[in-house]
């Protein structure tokens, strides 16, 4: 487009824009306050880790997930554990500490970072985009104890609903946090939060087919593979509670 016509276009837009400006001003969203921690991208984290071999970088997923795959040289510390007991963090509150998790939204790392800031840590960082961003940058991962991937059937919410009505041998296992479970869960579901799964799985009876339920359907695959390895028959809810609630709301 030539400069001339662009000028003309702008000249024409301006009067019309004035009419709409008030409407637009009403639509614009207010700015969210900046979080009390610093956000860094994957390449920055990599550079920080290279220059400081002792840098404390924490994977805030459950131990089971973290041991399966994590950024090399980082430590496993579930965000629930940080929240419950921030004293498990390194004692020097002036040192850099970094949190990351498995989703681009970084919900868990932010919760851990929030707890650290509250506990008095002054140099708290969160990896922007989490592990997905790290992986997409092409950086490698490490496995301490890899869970063999199983063939975990995923079932969609409507199919699960039908299945629950027809079959009596199913056991719904909700792996979300206790808080979310208390807020609302599928009728009959038992709660074993992800971060306690590796220590408490033995409580689950072996004679039932498990249907794993999580928040959005991202975490039940690995949990399912883990439980399959331990001898359980496992299925998982595709899309997690979010899909289930969407189905319920649609009715």
């Amino acid at each position: 487009m030539t400069l001339m016509s662009r000028k003309n276009l702008i000249g024409l837009i301006v009067p019309a824009a004035l009419i709409l400006i008030t409407a637009l001003a009403a639509c614009s969203k207010p700015q969210e306050p900046a979080p009390p921690w610093k956000v860094i991208d994957a390449s920055t984290l990599r550079a920080m880790m290279a220059s400081d071999k002792e840098l404390a970088v924490f994977n805030t997923m459950s131990e089971l997930e973290c041991r399966d795959h994590r950024i090399p040289g980082t430590r496993c510390l579930a965000c629930e554990d940080v929240e419950n007991n921030p004293s498990i963090l390194p004692p020097d509150k002036g040192r850099d500490i970094v949190f990351y998790c498995e989703s681009a939204g970084c919900y868990r790392s932010c919760r851990a970072a929030g707890a650290a800031v509250k506990a008095g840590y002054r140099q708290v960082y969160v990896l922007q985009g989490g592990m997905p961003a790290w992986k997409q940058s092409g950086y490698t991962m490490e496995s301490i104890e890899r869970i063999p991937r199983g063939s975990i059937q995923s079932i969609r919410a409507p199919a699960l609903k039908q299945m629950l009505a027809e079959r009596k041998d199913l056991l719904l296992v909700d792996v979300r946090s206790e808080y979310l479970y208390k807020e609302g869960h599928i009728e009959g579901a038992v709660n074993i939060p992800m971060h306690r799964l590796s220590s408490s799985y033995a409580e689950i009876p072996l004679d039932r087919t498990l249907v794993l339920v999580d928040d959005r359907g991202f975490r039940t695959f690995l949990a399912g593979s883990y439980l399959e390895m331990k001898g359980y028959r496992v299925m998982r809810l595709f899309g997690g509670m979010q899909d289930w609630q969407a189905m319920q709301a649609a009715k």
């Binding site: 487009m1 030539t2 001339m4 016509s5 662009r6 003309n8 276009l9 000249g11 024409l12 837009i13 009067p15 019309a16 009419i19 709409l20 399966d68 795959h69 498995e102 592990m131 997905p132 992986k135 997409q136 092409g138 991962m141 496995s143 991937r149 063939s151 975990i152 059937q153 995923s154 079932i155 969609r156 199919a159 959005r216 359907g217 991202f218 695959f221 690995l222 595709f238 899309g239 979010q242 899909d243």
Partner: protein
């Protein structure tokens, strides 16, 4: 020594020699790589199956690197590094970096390629089927496997889409569509996937399907907004045909089966009458049997477009020829038009357009350009310039808002003009008396017998067969310009209002009328734009005695001499009725002239530029 034994010895010696050469060259590699590993790892998988596999030529250590000392490894003190398939399969590894399974579940190659040590190249393998089998190990998608594409693949169709044809194989994208994350990206991505096969003529012919559906879809509002690069607010293929349960409309399970249409359209549209459902999502205008009303409209609009433009273009060319030749003759003979040489009273400015009408014209220009600049990018959504202009507006949504705003301005203006026209015909106090003579009188913009005579006179003048006709207040082409806006408002405005909120319109007209409305809106817009940018611009800018512009419509006044020259009958009437005195005005001020020139020439340049873009798109398509 028997011959046999001697030969054996010779053979032994040769064998030893060969062995020595082999040992020197290959042993450190091959023996440690294969023999040593299999000494411990002696399962049949590694001893037998691996040797028949596609990777048999590679030793164990070409994948399992990092063992420096076999003894340390045997004692569990040295473990091989994780296998990096990407060291050979670089392209796939690059693609895989964005794979959803890797990003979210940390899948590694061998999680899908489980029999990696025994993997063979099997040309007879039904790859599409194998992919379905692999994906459904976890994704038991009954929607897909029992219908449409899946069913066809299972029956052996090699054209039908298997999982990876839409979702990618090693580059399965991070679209968690069930969570409605990235809805715009997912819609764009999957619609492109559908188009790739469904626009493939050979493939569609083989499967007895139409290859035109993609083009027809691209001709609709849904398709055009999508093509313009704004897939978020409009239906892509999967929005109506669903993602996995893709079936022909005759099948009761199909989302596009008549019984399911209300729910189907209702996923995006709300509050419509069931008549809405007769809208055609990808109609063929040229199919007379299937879409008779659309076909007739298509022909009518085409004929109107070509007929009107052809008529006025010929008129314009003849006119230009005459004026240019005449201009040339006068130039050669040193003659100048009397209006240029005007002195005394001839220099007096007289009013032709009052401030009110000048403002209305400016508003009309602004509204028209806004409509063209927001509407035509959609009409020619595939063109490069269309995306650029839409970006300047701030996206398709903003462009749509401006389009509606400008349309509102135009409709209000038009309503006002209609009111004015009625007031002209039925002035206060006079009622109906004499309305017909006012309608056909010299101050009216309604065509009359004199216009026909003037037209004939102009044609004669074009061909040097006589003097130009003497005009009164309005020429026949000005009347056409004025009345064309009325027709245009009926066609574009009417269809535009129907399309504004199609759900509500469905309470007035059935859905298929929306198809017609869309066609009329688009074609009439093309006619209007080309008419204004070529014919109207010729009348007011390019005719040699007005070049580069006639500022009359902006300043409102011209010389008395010009009035005499261009509209002699009006002049005579004004003198006879004694009204000329009341028409006299001051000479327009410098700022007004400057603003007029800027606005008028700016409009001209923009219009010409848009004409080039439109013609370019017409030629390309």
């Amino acid at each position: 020594m028997t011959i046999e034994a001697r030969q054996r010895q010779k053979g032994l010696r040769a064998g030893l020699l060969l062995l020595a050469v082999f040992a020197v060259l290959c042993l450190p590699l091959a023996v440690s790589a294969a023999q040593d590993c299999r000494f411990c790892h002696d399962e049949p998988l590694y001893r037998v199956d691996f040797n028949k596999s596609i990777h048999a030529g590679n030793g164990c250590t070409s994948c399992h690197v990092g063992i420096t000392d076999v003894e340390k490894h045997r004692d569990g003190k040295e473990k091989p590094a994780p296998v990096d398939c990407g060291s050979c399969h670089q392209e796939i590894a690059k693609e895989y970096r964005n794979n959803f399974h890797y990003i979210q579940e940390d899948f590694r190659c061998s999680d899908c390629h489980r029999n990696i040590h025994a993997i063979r190249q099997d040309k007879s393998k039904n790859v599409k089927l194998a992919i379905i089998e692999k994906c459904t190990e976890c994704h038991g998608n009954a929607d897909y496997t029992t219908s449409g594409h899946g069913e066809a693949v299972l029956k052996g169709n090699q054209d039908a889409a298997t999982c990876s044809d839409c979702h990618g194989l090693h580059n399965t994208r991070v679209f968690h569509t069930s969570l409605e994350q990235y809805p715009a990206e997912a819609r764009e991505f999957y619609t492109q996937k559908c188009k790739r096969c469904h626009a493939d003529s050979a493939m569609m012919k083989r499967n007895n399907l139409s290859d035109k559906m993609v083009a027809y879809y691209e001709g609709t509002y849904h398709g055009k907004v999508q093509e313009l690069g704004y897939p978020a607010p409009v239906a892509g293929c999967g929005d109506c045909h669903t993602k996995h349960n893709i079936l022909p409309k005759e099948d009761p399970r199909s989302s596009i089966h008549p019984d399911n249409l209300e729910a189907n359209c209702g996923r995006c549209h709300a509050g419509f009458h069931s008549r809405f459902l007769s809208y055609q999502a990808h109609p063929d205008y040229t199919d007379r049997a299937k879409y008779p009303a659309l076909y007739v409209t298509f022909l009518f609009m085409g004929a109107l477009l070509i007929g009107t433009l052809a008529f006025f273009w010929v008129h314009t060319i003849l006119w230009w020829r005459k004026v240019y030749w005449e201009h040339d003759r006068m130039e050669r003979e040193g003659l100048v038009p009397p209006s240029v040489l005007a002195t005394g009273e001839g220099l007096q400015q007289v009013e032709r357009f009052s401030v009110k009408y000048r403002i209305m014209h400016v508003l009309l220009v602004i509204s028209f350009f806004t409509l063209v600049l927001t509407g035509f990018p959609l009409k020619y959504a595939g063109a490069e310039w269309a995306a650029t202009i839409t970006r300047l507006w701030g996206g398709a949504h903003m462009a749509g808002l401006f389009h509606r705003g400008a349309a509102f301005l135009l409709i209000v203006g038009m309503a006002y003009v209609s009111l004015e026209s009625l007031r002209f015909l039925f002035p206060r106090g006079e009622g109906k008396k004499g309305w017909l003579s006012r309608l056909l009188g010299p101050d009216s913009l309604f065509p009359n017998l004199k216009d026909l005579q003037d037209f004939k006179g102009m044609i004669r003048w074009f061909f040097n067969k006589g003097e130009p006709p003497k005009f009164d207040r309005w020429t026949y082409w000005e009347k056409f310009d004025f009345l064309a806006v009325f027709w245009g408002m009926f066609a574009i405005g009417g269809s535009g209002i129907l399309l504004w909120k199609p759900e509500w319109s469905s309470y007035l007209v059935p859905g298929w009328v929306m198809n017609i409305a869309a066609l009329v809106h688009s074609e009439e817009a093309l006619l209007a734009a080309l008419f204004i940018f070529t014919i109207h611009f010729f009348n007011t800018h390019f005719i040699p005695n007005k070049f580069p512009m006639d500022r009359l419509i902006f300043t409102g006044t011209y010389r008395l001499e010009e009035l005499k020259e261009q509209r002699p009958l009006e002049y005579e009437r004004l003198v006879a009725e004694g009204r000329l005195e009341t028409m006299k005005r001051e000479h327009p001020s410098i700022p007004l002239k400057l603003i007029s020139a800027t606005f008028g020439l700016g409009s001209l340049l923009l219009g010409m530029f848009l004409t080039v873009l439109i013609v370019w798109s017409l030629l390309v398509s």
